[in-house]
């Protein structure tokens, strides 16, 4: 049977299948199928069997131990000697799946889940020839590392960035210098308002008008660049088809969840459907340790070996980035992506990301897939949300990429090179839009973010309250991101360059300022429309008036048009008329922006949880092939 295997594998693997069949743990037919898959995927037989769930992990590792003539240990019953742990090597334990278990008769016993020749040789080099091995399951190793090193891993997840690069951490909301600058500016404006009220109001009005004009200019450029057809030709279907499975790297998928037991079966089936060798998937279900019901639901599902439950110990701040940082300690992939529990990525997305990385320059550290919604037709809010996302991901982000402006990453479906992600100290656990922050941070470090032509369909928020909670978090995170990166504006300017710096000001800063200033503008305009009060004339000298009128008519008209264009590009034609109602959506944004601002001051690290599963659209009913494509 082994003669049929074209790829070099550890010698024991040729027999492990036979042993499992002999022991009645695996049928011959499945072994044959697994061997065929091995030929295609180029991974070890054991990984395939576990990934497919054809053999229980316990049975597999026991058989493996017999095959290698090594003892099998259950680390839950015989836990490792904690004193043998070298804390600086925790990452290696978690990622290479071994740990020092015990010291017996002067000899160190190492528990390994991967008894390959290479692995054993590496460990002998590290610990000496006298070292002895025992076999255990990878789940036991992960559990043991977590149990022994919880405090240290938690500390690392929370504080690593703040310690190594305090200037890039949002742990401190406002720096002393920023407080002084804000204080001085506020005092100056108030003083001027008292001494020269008209001139000051004209200056403020003029500043806002010019800012909006430039912001409009940037979006015009982004639309122009984003509408070019080459933007959509990043990875073709032919390239995906030409990809050889055995060339694919191991892919880690982080799925942070909280109190979402109902979405687990949907998620697992979505991931199983991915067009990627299952044995090369390293899926981490990142669950809070107090989320008993989701943990139990995951256990009850009896998921295959590719799914690992990472229990994140309780600590503050209780944020998604902290949970992801924690799970990152156990990630074994060469590439990594994040999906939310309710996500439905297009099946070939991982392959497209691999190809996009291969085609991209070396300094591309992240590929962002496009996000869109499967429940766009549910109600007005989901329609508006879909319009917004179509514009954001189908026009703006590819254009930002092309113009080398930092891309505020979307919350999910961003694909990273693992080594770069670790080098950048991963996500900032204090930033509630850690993804947007990471996008800017990567650009500052000389890396680039690309956008792939693959879509992940999510559930659009269909309830206003829930939407405002989610959006207020986004606004707060944008404010955090802006404050963090504007601590040293000159340094930011140097690292991002001219286009990147101003793009950041108008894209990130512009979103915040626009939402916060909208109510003032709107009230003023409505009052003027109702009364034609000439009192406003004084703060609208001709130039300011003309710029304001331009912004009002052309700027706003253009933004409505952009939303139509987004729907047009994604063939969501039924949504186009709804673009006319986008000003009402802007009002909601303003509410969320003020809520975010309030929280930034009073509760900066609070994670406003978005409740998923509110949609009336059933996930199982969603056919990705029938979703609109860009």
């Amino acid at each position: 049977m082994s003669a049929q295997i074209p790829f070099a594998v550890p010698h024991a693997n040729a027999h492990i299948g036979d042993a499992l069949v002999r022991d009645g743990l695996l049928s011959q037919a499945r072994l044959d199928e697994a061997l065929a898959l091995q030929a295609r995927w180029g991974t070890r037989l054991g990984d395939i069997l576990l990934a497919k769930g054809w053999v229980r992990a316990y049975d597999f590792y026991r058989t493996l131990s017999v095959q290698f003539e090594l003892p099998f240990v259950d680390l839950l019953k015989s836990p490792p000697d904690e004193s043998l742990f070298v804390m600086a090597e925790l990452d290696q334990y978690a990622q290479s799946l071994y740990l020092p278990w015990k010291q017996e008769n002067g000899k160190l016993l190492i528990a390994v889940a991967d008894p390959s020749e290479t692995m054993l040789a590496q460990l002998e080099d590290r610990y000496g020839k006298s070292v002895r091995f025992v076999i255990t399951s990878k789940f036991d190793i992960i559990w043991s590392v977590q149990r022994v090193a919880n405090a240290r891993l938690t500390d690392k997840s929370v504080l690593e960035l703040a310690r190594l690069r305090p200037d890039q951490s949002a742990r401190q909301v406002f720096t002393g210098r920023q407080i002084i600058v804000i204080g001085v500016l506020a005092t100056l404006i108030l003083t001027c308002l008292v001494l020269w009220p008209v001139v000051t109001l004209i200056a403020l009005n003029g500043f806002l008008s010019v800012f909006f004009l430039l912001s409009f200019g940037l979006r015009t450029v982004l639309t122009w660049v984003g509408s070019h057809r080459s933007i959509d030709l990043k990875v073709s279907d032919a390239e995906v088809a030409a990809l050889e499975d055995h060339d694919l790297p191991v892919y880690t998928i982080l799925v942070p969840m909280y109190k979402e037991p109902d979405t687990l079966p949907i998620l697992s089936s979505a991931l199983r459907r991915m067009d990627y060798p299952l044995s090369k998937l390293d899926v981490k279900l990142v669950l809070e340790e107090d989320d008993i019901e989701t943990i139990q639901a995951a256990k009850d599902l009896g998921l295959e070996g590719i799914f690992e439950i990472i229990r994140v110990p309780h600590s503050q701040p209780r944020t998604k980035p902290k949970a992801c940082n924690y799970a990152l300690n156990f990630a074994r992939g060469e590439l990594l992506t994040i999906y939310d529990a309710e996500d439905k990525p297009e099946p070939d997305q991982l392959k497209k990301a691999v190809i996009a990385f291969r085609k991209a320059p070396d300094n591309v550290a992240c590929i962002q897939a496009r996000l869109n919604y499967f429940n766009s037709t549910e109600n007005w809010l989901t329609r508006m949300f879909t319009l917004e996302y179509s514009l954001w991901f189908d026009f703006y982000l590819p254009a930002l990429e092309a113009l080398k402006i930092p891309i505020p990453l979307g919350g999910t479906s961003n694909h990273f090179k693992m080594d770069v992600l670790r080098e950048a100290n991963a996500w900032d656990p204090f930033n509630v839009t850690e993804d947007a922050d990471l996008g800017v941070r990567l650009t500052q470090r000389g890396y680039r973010v690309g956008v792939a032509n693959s879509t992940t369909f999510e559930e659009a928020n269909s309830h206003v309250g829930n939407w405002i909670r989610q959006r207020s978090r986004w606004f707060k995170g944008y404010m955090q991101t802006y404050l963090v990166h504007m601590r040293k504006p000159v340094e930011l300017y140097r690292s991002l360059g001219h286009t990147g710096f101003w793009g950041f000001q108008f894209f990130v800063g512009g979103n915040i300022l626009t939402a916060l200033s909208l109510p003032f503008m709107l009230v003023m305009f409505a009052y003027w429309l109702a009364t034609r009060w000439s009192g406003f004339d004084i703060i609208f000298p001709p130039v300011v008036l003309y710029i304001s009128l331009f912004n009002l008519i052309i700027g706003n008209g253009f933004f409505v048009y952009l939303n139509m264009l987004g729907a047009f590009k994604r063939h969501n034609f039924h949504l186009m008329p709804y673009a006319l109602t986008v000003p009402a959506y802007w009002l909601l944004m303003t509410v969320a922006a003020y809520k975010g601002l309030w929280q930034l001051i009073h509760n900066p690290f609070f994670w406003e949880k978005t409740t998923h599963g509110l949609s009336q659209f059933k996930h199982d009913d969603i056919d990705l092939h029938r979703q609109p494509q860009a």
Binding site: S227, P542, Y546, I554, Y561, F573, M576
Partner: protein, 512 residues
């Protein structure tokens, strides 16, 4: 059947010959620029200056020389695009002649042909055939007319070529950016030319033919929305501005002076409207006939390449588009003569050549263009408006008699640049000839408004019209002081008299 030119061939060309192409396009641009500037100088020498250019130049001059720039000074009765362009030109030190508009027109048309030369190159046409086609179309009477009959025509021609090229991209490569380009073009065009709305209306029935079937199959309404929304925003914005500044959203369509009305306010002065105004089918038939006469090439290309139905339909649609606009424009008494829309067949022909596979029968194509040039003269001469007739006369070397004495008076006012009460609505030709608006007291100024409240004027110098002449109806100074033309005012001397206009000047103060 494969197209004769392939992308591979083109890319090879691109790699090796792009700098040469740039140089050649620049040479085409410069040569045609010189040709058209020469044409304008010739016409100017024979007494023809576009009335449009004079009017908009006076607006540019008054807006630049006013104490502060205000949209209200310019008014909202005509699109602002050409005025802003001229104002920019006027800001350049040393440029103070209304001929700047003509020079700008020459540059714009030359630019269009320079672009077309590039696009022909991309299509794979060899040098000599490119140059021949560019030369023949550049010398087409409608091209010459557009380059010298007013900035609005040149601007519209260039922008219409961009629109046609956008359509070409939509049809040939289904490019979303081209959709954005085409739709935005109409919005921009609305601020540049009053004919835009008619052009869009004429386009509406053709959109299903022009749009690729893939787009059509998805949503026809979607295509109309995407193409029409920017124009709707522009038009809605214009209504809003009229309401904000003048309290009447529809003022730009109601005022007799509004260019948005076209010839509606004085249809009797147009032979074409006198004969065809208010009709639909007859003008359409005439327009079609003269289009075929002046531009036979697109029709021949459509017939020759009928095996490419989508491209054939698109070329015919672009050909029909200005013809439909003629029909609409005549129906509502907007269009003073055929040339107002038929000159847009120049870019339609250029695009038809791009749309179709590269023809091997270049000589036949050139012959068609020559025939079109001859037919063009015939079309241009058919019931021309007063302005077009004057243009033809000046082109043929007949010195045009001055239509009024405003220009002479303007020069005199320039030499006697004292504070002068004057209405720019009726005296824009004089202001253009004067060269600047300093020391002029114009209707938008507070001083003018104060003068209009007095029984007797106080300004140093006053220009009034003969109340018996039509010009007086537009002149607010004459309306306020109807006796001034004949009787003068106490303390004022008559210092200039054309018969139609008189200038009164305050007597010098004598020491008691």
């Amino acid at each position: 059947m494969a197209y004769p030119n392939s992308n591979t061939m083109t890319s090879i060309y691109i790699a090796s010959r792009k700098p040469r192409l740039r140089l050649l396009s620049l040479a085409v641009f410069l040569a045609l620029g010189c040709l058209y500037i020469g044409l304008n100088i010739w016409l100017g020498g024979n007494g023809f200056i576009s009335d449009f250019d004079l009017h908009r130049w006076s607006k540019a001059v008054t807006s630049i020389d006013a104490d502060e720039f205000r949209i209200e000074h310019i008014g909202l009765l005509y699109p602002h695009g050409p005025i802003y362009l001229l104002a920019m030109v006027r800001s350049v030190p040393g440029i103070d002649s209304a001929l700047a508009g003509a020079a700008l027109s020459a540059i714009l048309i030359a630019l269009m042909f320079g672009l077309w030369n590039r696009h022909l190159w991309h299509k794979g046409y060899p040098l000599w055939s490119r140059l021949a086609m560019v030369a023949l179309l550049a010398l087409h009477p409608y091209s010459l007319w557009a380059a010298s009959s007013g900035l609005h025509n040149a601007l519209l021609l260039l922008m219409f070529y961009v629109f046609c090229y956008g359509c070409y991209l939509i049809i040939s490569i289904h490019d979303l950016r081209a959709v954005v380009l085409v739709s935005s073009m109409f919005a921009v065009l609305f601020f540049a030319d009053e004919r835009t709305m008619l052009l869009f209306l004429a386009l509406m029935p053709l959109i299903p033919i022009l749009a690729p079937s893939r787009m059509l199959g998805n949503s026809l309404v979607g295509i109309y929305s995407i193409l029409g929304f920017p124009l709707m925003v522009a038009a809605g914005g214009w209504l809003f501005l009229n309401w904000v500044f003048h309290g009447n959203a529809w003022g730009f369509l109601q005022s007799p002076e509004a260019s948005f009305r076209g010839a509606l306010s004085h249809p009797e002065s147009s032979p074409w409207l006198s004969a065809m105004g208010g009709q639909w089918l007859a003008p359409l038939g005439w327009a079609l006939m003269f289009s075929a006469l002046a531009f036979p090439l697109p029709l021949w290309l459509a017939w020759r390449y009928r095996r490419y139905p989508a491209r054939m339909a698109a070329a015919l649609s672009l050909f029909i588009h200005p013809v439909l606009a003629v029909g609409l424009g005549t129906l509502i008494f907007f269009l003073p003569d055929l040339s107002g829309f038929l000159f847009l067949l120049v870019p339609a022909t250029m695009t038809a050549i791009l749309l179709m596979p590269r023809s091997r029968k270049i000589n036949l194509m050139l012959a068609m263009l020559v025939m079109g040039n001859l037919g063009g003269w015939l079309a241009l001469s058919w019931q021309p408006s007063h302005e077009t007739h004057a243009w033809q006369g000046a082109l043929s070397g007949n010195v045009q008699p001055a239509r009024d004495d405003q220009i002479e008076m303007g020069r005199w006012l320039g030499e006697n640049a004292q504070p002068t009460l004057i209405d720019d609505r009726s005296l824009y030709r004089a202001i253009s000839a004067r060269g600047h608006a300093r020391n002029l007291i114009l209707p938008f100024s507070h001083q003018f408004k104060n003068e209009m409240k007095r029984p007797q004027p106080l300004t140093q110098q006053i220009v009034v019209a003969n109340p018996a002449r039509p010009a007086a109806a537009l002149d607010r100074v004459t309306q306020q002081f109807p006796e001034l033309f004949w009787n003068g005012a106490p303390g004022y001397d008559l210092v200039y008299d054309t018969g139609e206009w008189r200038v009164w000047r305050k007597q010098p103060q004598t020491e008691p």
